[in-house]
Symmetry: C2
Subunit: 292 residues, 2 copies
């Protein structure tokens, strides 16, 4: 493993996810907290204007604005399209970035606890994830294989990942989750420091990951309006097994709708507020053991 | 008590409070659910544009836009300022309204359970509130004495009140709270029906109310930025006693800040997302017994 020279901690990529925003503010006020001897740590408030307005975004989701072709398109003039280009100037360019690691801090209305979201199974991030689960068993790791180029902010560099915490409402701080996220950031930095020092011991030889399979949308009518809610039995049950035939939705008339899959799955991002407009009621994952 | 001729059920006065929005949609599709023999029931989606954008409001809080002088000011052209005038045309005029009762459906990120919010202690609404608590002990009643003219939508008529349910994140449906709110609306309508029929038995001669005393803001720095979060021990503890000296905030550095009052109070709306910008971390109430 090559030396990590620079780590960027990003918060407020979504302006109404306050945990990350206020952690960035804290880190910027107390730089010593994130300083480590053997690499540089940068901080970035992703979308300050959206934060000012307590909104996820102004024109479009910033965290879907990092496709190479968009970053290179100077005719784009939406707020987030331009902000993405500014951020790329600071951290990028994509594929040849100034930072080696991006830790993007997110929060969710789903009961995701403390989640690490990976887009690639590189040995470095896997070892890091395994370390984080070893020091805090609450930490879960989910993995979304890339089928095409990623449009996420963290895709600017090779070792980008998100810390996703919840449940917490948008535009609200939950002190307990704030502190747990903060601890997790320090653990990441400490791990990178020891990796640079070459003092990483081999930890768990096996890691549980939740591998993305696909999404389920809410049932909708012809106008695209939702016709059902997450079933109470499934609400807040992220990362728990869902068996075929178990209820996932409840119509406004009180009728349960069952999960029609043929195998047990592990839903995550159940009832995330920002995903209603994306056509996502939950993401389905399968649970896997990975040998490191 | 005079006959109630018309009841208006309003939802989505705040566009990102989905419980009310989807209840209104349901009622409008199934009018029989809210029809009663001895009065007329109207429905109203308060701020459709804000709902479309999943925001509380577009330009300003619609539920603070019903002062008489604003309703009569035809030079106002903000989205909610104009919407308030349109709504007044449908339900008002203020002080001489076309409806006798307004039930305004709200939700909150605070743990308000099922709350009835009253602005006046009129025998009719008190009896109604007592009835609701008698059929569901989860129901709490809070009362904010008016010091000046109310700017709330429900102030258009004499017997306006809010049903405030939580905790639920903005722009999210929680099926359990949806169904409980629905039941509460039916209970209100059934009560009005029996009141009109003259078949109300005397219920509880005593009612617990939480009387508004004032608000506490977050600690803030010179730029108005918050310096602390709701303390974990207080989070979700709405309607529970808070004693002098008990922690209410936690600074970002992890220091607890105590409640400095001299008497036990009962905080409500603890950590409501929409109140950060209003300078409200929680409302303080005192618990009172009222004889009916």
């Amino acid at each position: 493993m090559n030396k990590i020279n620079r780590v960027a901690i990003v918060g407020g990529t979504h302006g109404n996810e306050f945990t990350g925003v206020y952690l960035i503010k804290k880190f910027e006020e107390h730089l010593n907290l994130i300083k480590r001897p053997n690499f540089e740590t940068l901080t970035l408030l992703g979308n300050p204007q959206a934060f000012k307005e307590s909104r996820r975004y102004i024109d479009k989701d910033l965290n879907r604005s990092f496709l190479s072709q968009d970053l290179q398109n100077s005719t784009l003039s939406g707020h987030e399209e331009m902000r993405a280009q500014v951020i790329e100037k600071m951290l990028g360019p994509k594929g040849k970035s100034q930072v080696d690691v991006i830790v993007d801090l997110h929060s969710t209305t789903a009961n995701m606890g403390l989640s690490i979201l990976l887009g690639e199974l590189h040995p470095f991030t896997l070892q890091l994830a395994a370390y984080l689960t070893s020091i805090n068993p609450e930490v879960k790791v989910s993995y979304t294989p890339l089928e095409q180029e990623s449009n996420l902010l963290r895709s600017l560099c090779d070792f980008g990942f998100a810390i996703e915490v919840g449940p917490v409402a948008q535009a609200v701080l939950n002190a307990e989750l704030f502190q747990k996220t903060e601890e997790l950031v320090y653990a990441v930095l400490d791990y990178v420091e020891r990796s640079n020092q070459g003092t990483i011991e081999n930890i768990d030889s096996s890691l549980t990951i939740y591998r993305y399979m696909g999404v389920i949308d809410f049932p909708r009518n012809d106008h695209g309006e939702i016709k059902a809610m997450i079933h109470p039995q499934l609400q807040f049950k992220d990362y728990q097994p869902l068996h075929p035939g178990e209820p996932i939705f409840l119509t406004f008339d009180g009728k349960a709708i069952a999960y029609e899959g043929t195998s047990t799955v592990y839903p995550i991002f159940i009832n995330e507020a920002a995903y209603y407009e994306k056509g996502i009621a939950m993401c389905l994952t399968e649970k896997q053991q990975i040998e490191l």
